[in-house]
């Protein structure tokens, strides 16, 4: 979670430069990771996400740059690596039992047998693999193997956990279960996590903040909804998609329909299995938002109507993107014919509407950043 005010920066990066084969693969002027937050690195393959994680975890020595952990420059990567943990895309398990795999980090640290046994049992249960303790790691399914890998990382109680696309090699139902468990465990342990992914939905579910990486640089970093709603440039927009993402909390539920009060003061009606008080992200695709200049409630099936002002209009080739400020921001796609027909221009008062069923709801365990 993002601390309020000036609370702890856990990890700081300054002027990080990594070159490989004469080419710059990473060039990060500044990045800060806050204590307890989940920061997601998103970007296409080859953008430098993995390289950044390796550099942040002390596994790759950058050509230049400073890495500050709890305000102090990291001098001995070995000491630092014992305080953090890393999970790779491949489970990279050792050719031994699940129990021994999960115990390996503790054995490396020279812990006693009884202590190791106690901790391993607890973490096996936590990741739902208690029944696999005695099984050879070679005989695990993809999901079980990645659970083992996660348990092996979490058991050392790292101050930061680095997760390099941990779910991308898994099929979709397996991934769904694992993302849910990781979400729960991150929430329980309040472990600071940096998660790279090329899957935006993972970032939406797990992250408090998002950093979009492209060509070895950070293109944009900020709270999830901010990055999704206000992509800093064309690259970020093309990668994150241009959904409107509104974070809020469920205030009323009735017959499948619920009302969430969102940041900026609006109330959105949507459909989903939620409970009152649940923190949610409401995602609305721009093609589902209708703009009208008629402020009177029309006879339509759209349950959500908000009046606002046009903040910005951006041409996108065959159509235009219209940003409407309703206290929160809604983004809609319009054809140039509609734009002319309604004579829309920045500053004009309009009504934006969308159906409750057009809202894609993501229920989160922890509250999205305020």
């Amino acid at each position: 979670m993002i601390p309020e005010g000036n609370a702890g920066i856990l990890l700081g990066v300054e002027d990080l430069l990594v070159r490989r084969g004469g080419a710059t693969v990473l060039d990060i002027s500044r990045l800060q990771v806050f204590d307890g937050e989940v920061l997601s690195l998103i970007g296409p393959n080859g953008a430098g996400k993995s390289t950044l994680l390796l550099a942040l975890s002390g596994l790759l020595k950058p050509l230049r740059g400073r890495l500050l952990f709890r305000g102090r420059e990291i001098r001995d990567p070995f000491v630092y690596r014992r305080r953090v943990a890393m999970v790779f895309q491949e489970p990279l398990l050792f050719d031994m039992t699940v129990f021994d795999n999960v115990a390996s980090g503790l054995r490396i640290r020279g812990l006693g047998r009884a202590e190791i046994r106690r901790a391993v049992s607890a973490y096996l249960e936590r990741f739902g693999i208690g029944h696999l303790a005695g099984r050879s790691a070679r005989k695990l399914s993809g999901g079980e193997a990645q659970r083992t890998s996660l348990a092996r990382a979490f058991i050392t109680q790292p101050e930061i956990i680095f997760l390099d696309e941990p779910f991308s090699a898994l099929d979709s139902p397996t991934r769904e279960g694992l993302v849910g468990d990781l979400e729960r465990i991150l929430c329980q342990t309040r472990t600071t996590a940096i998660l790279s992914t090329h899957d935006q939905s993972e970032a939406l579910r797990l992250a408090h903040r998002v950093a979009v990486i492209g060509g070895g640089r950070i293109m944009q970093v900020g709270p999830v909804d901010e990055v999704m709603n206000r992509p800093a440039d064309g690259f970020v927009a093309s990668f994150v998609g241009v959904e409107t993402v509104l974070s809020g909390r469920v205030v009323r539920v009735s017959k499948g329909l619920f009302t969430a009060s969102v940041k900026g003061g609006g109330e959105i009606e949507a459909v989903g299995a939620v409970r009152t008080g649940d923190p949610v992200l409401c995602c609305i695709r721009p093609e589902n938002i209708t703009i009208s200049t008629d402020s009177k409630p029309a006879e339509t099936s759209a349950r959500n109507r908000f009046s606002g002002t046009i903040r910005k209009i951006t041409p996108l080739g065959l159509f235009l993107r219209v940003h409407v400020d309703c206290g929160f921001e809604l983004v809609s796609y319009l054809t140039s014919q509609s734009l002319e027909g309604l004579s829309l221009a920045p500053g004009k008062e309009v009504t934006a509407s969308f159906k409750a069923t057009a809202v894609h709801v993501i229920v989160r365990q922890s509250s999205p950043p305020a």
Binding site: L54, S57, L59, F78, R81, R82, V84, A85, M86, F88, E90, P91, L92, L93, F94, D95, S104, G105, I108, R109, A137, R138, A145, R152, A153, T156, F162
Partner: protein, 232 residues
């Protein structure tokens, strides 16, 4: 045909009555080749792992030298070990020519490149990120190397087999540096050569059977390991 049948009959009785000379030769063979394999393992696994895990100028040349060494002709090794151990040679002061120690030395030289080459390949074939994963778990450099070697244990076992299989069946170097002295430096292969040349086929067949059995056991174990599922 009778010659062969008679040979086998006598050979089996030599083997199964535990003939003192046959037993002595077999035990010496096992001792000499076992020790040579052990020495080659210590050097070979260390060098192979070091070359696999480091990058330095001239590395490709070192790797191809190791690979060439895997096919080192035993007679050439025998020749050079003899020259070095010759009374007037550089290592003549050791006075170990025509002793079991000389055979161990020669066989170690033959087996070391084999073990080094297989170790190198075994460590290199581990997933590239495995080393990073071990480091990420907080391992020291020594712990990392140890864990990698342990992960490569199955192919490394193959290195043991190949090294041992190579030297137990080698004859050229053993006869040149060991001298095939009865009851002292006579091993299975050198004894087989001698008995055959003398026409003592029963003894030669007996020794041959033992060598085959050892070779078979080594290969059977190797096959068993190879047939096991590869670790991910």
């Amino acid at each position: 045909m009778d010659l062969i049948l008679e040979g086998f009959r006598k050979a089996f009785s030599l083997v199964f009555t535990l003939d003192a000379e046959v037993l002595g030769i077999t035990l010496l063979s096992l001792k000499v080749s076992g020790l040579a394999t052990l020495i080659s393992l210590v050097i070979g696994i260390s060098v192979g792992t070091a070359v696999a895990l480091t990058r330095f100028p001239g590395r490709p040349i070192v790797v191809s030298l190791i690979n060439t060494g895997m096919g080192l002709p035993p007679v050439v090794v025998g020749l050079f070990v003899t020259i070095f151990l010759w009374r007037s040679g550089p290592l003549g002061f050791l006075e170990i020519l025509y002793t079991p120690a000389a055979i161990i030395l020669a066989q170690s030289i033959i087996a070391t490149p084999i073990v080094t080459g297989i170790s190198l390949a075994a460590i290199q074939h581990l997933p590239a990120d495995l080393r990073l994963q071990i480091l990420a778990l907080g391992a020291t450099r020594v712990q990392t190397v140890w864990m990698l070697v342990r992960e490569a244990r199955l192919p490394l076992l193959a290195a043991v087999m190949a090294g041992f299989g190579g030297v137990i069946s080698e004859v050229g170097a053993s006869i040149m540096v060991g001298g095939n002295i009865k009851g002292y430096s006579r091993v299975l292969t050198t004894a087989t050569v001698m008995e055959t040349s003398r026409g003592n086929f029963d003894m030669a067949i007996a020794l041959g059977i033992i060598l085959l059995l050892l070779s078979f056991m080594v290969n059977a174990l190797l096959t068993l390991i190879q047939q096991r599922e590869r670790p991910r």
